[in-house]
Subunit: 137 residues, 2 copies
């Protein structure tokens, strides 16, 4: 059994509330994260809520990034979901940490899509566990 994707579920606490309410900055941060983690962007959409908060999604060839911000709590929920060994989502986590000025970041990483792969590659070699997922194309 091999996993098709990895999903990083990231909680950014103690962020700068002003940043969390600026849609242009949030969009810049998310697109920069996409690029820095070597993902290929195919579409994106961001939305400013009233009275406050921003939501957005970036669809990448390798899956997606999403963000939701709560300026009133200094909190943002971000997901980095990717496939293949080209992308390193942990780089994206760091980019967002910098932009949001979060003082408390919590990362949960899970593997998704356990399927019988058509070829018998090893998805996680010991040396790459927790770092990069191997392609199973």
């Amino acid at each position: 059994m091999q996993a098709l994707g990895r999903h990083l579920i990231v909680e950014y606490y103690d962020c700068n509330p002003k940043v969390l309410d600026e849609i242009e900055l949030i969009e810049t941060a998310m697109l920069e994260a996409t690029e820095e983690m070597s993902a290929t962007r195919v579409a994106h959409k961001f939305h400013q809520f009233a009275p406050q908060g921003v939501s957005g999604a970036v669809i990448i060839e390798e899956s997606h990034l999403t963000i939701h911000t709560w300026p009133e709590y200094g909190y943002a929920a971000v997901d980095f979901y990717s496939c293949g060994n080209k992308v390193n989502p942990h780089i994206g986590v760091k980019v967002l940490e910098k932009y949001l000025q979060s003082k408390n970041v919590n990362v949960t990483e899970m593997l998704r899509g356990f399927v019988n792969a058509p070829h018998s590659q090893t998805l996680f070699a010991d040396e790459t566990r927790g770092s990069l997922v191997k392609n199973i194309d």
Copy 2:
């Protein structure tokens, strides 16, 4: 400590591969799920991959829904992330199950965004645990 959101991470295995590769059907399914679970849609974007597969995101007032399909494995990864007590994401899970004709659905539910709420409401009363999240507005 109270949670701002709930996140359903859903794996649909043994789906109809043809459905998984039809962007219009996937979009219809996702928008119907959004409506049926009483979420308010604010933006959406879907993308057809070559040679196969569809990705998409629906930003809702209460957070988001995303989907990625792998027709070659009969598998789709779907996320239902929502806030408040108006939305019941499990209804969305059922809508997608029907459309994708999945014979094997795996749901993981997690709470996200543990913050000190401004008022001392109870987020999960015993009788609602695992069903509806209380608003903490």
